[in-house]
């Protein structure tokens, strides 16, 4: 029975429907106004309802989609590490400054994740962070965050 199996579309539809319910709940806390004079909560509420209906349609029509087990997640280690690098950059950019943040993030990605030698990693990360800083900040006058250590 293909109609009862858990497919990728059905799982995605359920997650989206759950998000729509949360959005409905959050929207209902906003001033809704009246039917004639909608308040700031009306359109979000209508959109959350639309999302809910569409999500349920995805669930309903998702029986023929690929089974969940067919999805490949082989790159998950890389994905987690790259998202970790993004999070690090968001946290460090205004604390360590652009050059130091980019240096550390690139060095970690290239040496730890991509298994390049430390020398190659240092040359690449140092070259990129200093080169891009020179290009954008010095030549093109784009303001970039500085570190508290003065570089």
């Amino acid at each position: 029975m293909t109609t009862r199996r858990l497919t990728a579309d059905r799982l995605a539809g359920v997650v989206l429907a759950a998000f729509a319910l949360v959005a409905l709940w959050e929207s209902s806390k906003l001033p809704l106004g009246t039917v004639e004079q909608p308040g700031p909560g009306t359109v979000p509420l209508l959109l959350a309802l639309t999302l809910l209906v569409c999500s349920l349609a995805v669930v309903g029509g998702g029986g023929a989609a690929q089974p969940l087990s067919a999805l490949q997640w082989t790159e998950w280690r890389h994905a987690v590490a790259i998202l970790g690098a993004c999070a690090f950059m968001a946290l460090a950019l205004e604390r360590l400054g652009y050059r130091l943040t980019i240096l550390v993030a690139l060095l970690a990605l290239v040496t730890l994740l991509e298994k390049k030698s430390l020398v190659v990693g240092v040359v690449f990360a140092l070259g990129f962070s200093l080169g891009s800083y020179f290009l954008f900040n010095t030549l093109l006058k784009v303001p970039m965050p500085q570190s508290p250590f003065g570089f």
Binding site: A23, E36, T50, A57, A79, I82, I102, F128, V142
Partner: protein
């Protein structure tokens, strides 16, 4: 007409000045690089370069950004044809037959026809832009909030209908984008919605970090760690000449692609992406040998490439004439204009003719620059792809972070980029279209404002949407598209009858025979 030509000649005086020419040239080169590199795309490229334009005057800045936009359209085809890697989303369709032509030893012809088609489409569509934008701007002065609301809703529905796969999934994505667009201060009441204590969300979730995250970061997440030993074909100059038959076969697709692209580009939505899909579908439908598509049909390269370039110019029509962005890239261009103190809208052409006509003329120049630049130097651009991906993606990641941060000098935008990157990664894994999210995000404030303004105009009566002819027609077309698109959901819902043996005998037999 005489007035238009006079204006155009004064535009050429601006466009051929050394500084503007230089910025058009730099924009085209950067755009081509951006188009060649997978995972960057015009949106990320423009976002990245936006802070660089802060020190330039308005004309130079807009010419530079526009050069990046249409340069990326040209560049995207190169890797699609030679390596089956779409440099940006609009080149996805070019991959299919372009790469098949490469495997047959016709890479040079495919590149030449893509470049020539892009050049013709780019140039012809600028004529369209030049002729259409001024009268449209005049006509738009009659548009009220109900017409704007209907136009934006129709744009979203057209996008959902045109997107590949299920319309329910595309609509869900559009609704998600619209919901995300509700974050921030409500323009009518000043109420701060969904802020959760983050003051930076007052202006809403930024288009730039969201687009860079959904398209750029998700691409990196999907492709990092994958073995990328791709063979790079670099055609020689003499191989770039198509055969007489190939010229003949591609002439009409280029013409149709130009027209389709321009019209679709005007409609709100990622016109350059949709137009290439539509053009491919139209060419396959019109072909006497549709079975050749996917096997190296030259029409499948020339049509979509012409369409996506034409759509680029088409997208500038509502942006310049109405001040309405038709997609994420025009939205960023619009933001750039506002940063430079230009008020986009119907009065722009009257009040700043040197900017408008200088911009138009620079597009003619840019198209010639791109044609001259792309074919002879294709080998150099393709060599960029020899950079190992293990070095390329960390560089793109760092550039993306810098570009996103520099727009508002805010780390909140970097967090948004990372979050939407994760969202885009998951959605693409589950085979969802992500373009409607960006468009929903861009259009959400405009849709809400025009909806509520319409009701304010009619003292709360919803009849205003059904008593104005333009509004009614647009909404009815939208409804028809919605019903057409959702038809499979309803027909699938009927399948339960088959499970319990209630399906008509004739239909079952028909299935059995197929």
């Amino acid at each position: 007409m005489v007035e238009t030509l006079q204006n155009l000649s004064s535009g050429f005086a601006v466009a051929l000045s050394p500084a503007v020419l230089l910025y058009a040239f730099v924009g085209c080169i950067v755009g081509t690089l951006v188009g060649v590199l997978p995972g960057v795309g015009p949106l990320a490229g423009i976002s990245l370069l936006l802070p660089v334009t802060f020190g330039l005057n308005a004309t130079n800045a807009i010419v530079l950004l526009a050069g990046i936009y249409y340069g990326a359209m040209y560049g995207g085809s190169t890797t699609s044809i030679l390596m089956r890697i779409p440099g940006e989303a609009a080149s996805v369709m070019t991959c299919i037959d372009g790469y098949a032509m490469t495997r047959k030893g016709r890479a040079g012809a495919a590149l030449a026809l893509a470049a020539f088609g892009s050049y013709v489409a780019g140039t012809v569509s600028v004529v369209g832009l030049m002729l259409l934008a001024p009268p449209l701007a005049e006509f738009a002065l009659r548009f009220g909030p109900p017409e704007n609301f209907a136009l934006l809703v129709l744009g979203l529905l057209v996008l959902a209908y045109m997107s590949g796969g299920s319309m329910a999934k595309s609509l869900a994505m559009a609704a998600l984008g619209l919901l995300l667009g509700m974050v921030g201060i409500d323009t009518m009441s000043g109420f701060f919605r969904f802020h959760y204590g983050i003051v930076e969300l007052g202006d809403g979730i930024g288009v730039v970090p969201t687009a860079v995250g959904l398209f750029g970061i998700s691409e990196i997440l999907l492709s990092a760690g994958r073995a990328t030993k791709t063979e790079i074909h670099t055609p020689r100059l003499r191989e770039l000449l198509p055969s007489r038959q190939e010229w003949r076969d591609s002439a009409w697709p280029i013409g149709r692609g130009t027209l389709l692209g321009f019209v679709i580009g005007i409609i709100p939505g990622p016109g350059h992406v949709i137009s290439s899909f539509v053009s491919y579908a139209v060419e396959r439908r019109l072909s006497k040998h549709p079975e050749r598509f996917g096997q190296g049909a030259v029409e499948g390269v020339a049509g979509p490439e012409a369409a996506n370039n034409s759509a680029t110019s088409g997208a500038f029509v509502p942006m310049l004439a109405l001040g309405l962005p038709s997609g994420a890239v025009p939205a960023i261009m619009l933001a750039a204009m506002m940063i430079h103190g230009i008020a986009p809208g119907p009065l722009l052409i009257q009040q700043q003719p040197e900017l408008f006509w200088g911009f138009i003329a620079s597009m003619y120049v840019g198209n010639i620059v791109l044609l001259v630049l792309n074919l002879p130097f294709v080998g150099i651009f393709v060599n960029l792809l020899r950079i190992p991906y293990s070095f390329l993606y960390p560089s793109i990641l760092a550039f993306a972070t810098l570009g996103v941060y520099a727009v508002n000098n805010s780390v909140v935008d970097v967090w948004i980029m990372a979050s939407t990157g994760l969202l885009g990664y998951a959605l693409r894994k589950f085979d969802f279209e992500i373009a409607p999210i960006v468009l929903g995000l861009v259009l959400a404030p405009m849709i809400e404002l025009s909806f509520r303004q319409s009701l304010a105009m009619s003292a709360g009566s919803y009849a205003i949407f059904f008593t104005r002819p333009i509004t009614t027609v647009m909404l009815l077309v939208g409804l028809a598209l919605l019903l057409l698109g959702l038809r499979p959901v309803f027909t699938k819902a009927m399948d339960w009858r088959a499970a319990v043996g209630l399906e008509p005998v004739a239909r079952r037999e028909g299935k059995g025979n197929s």
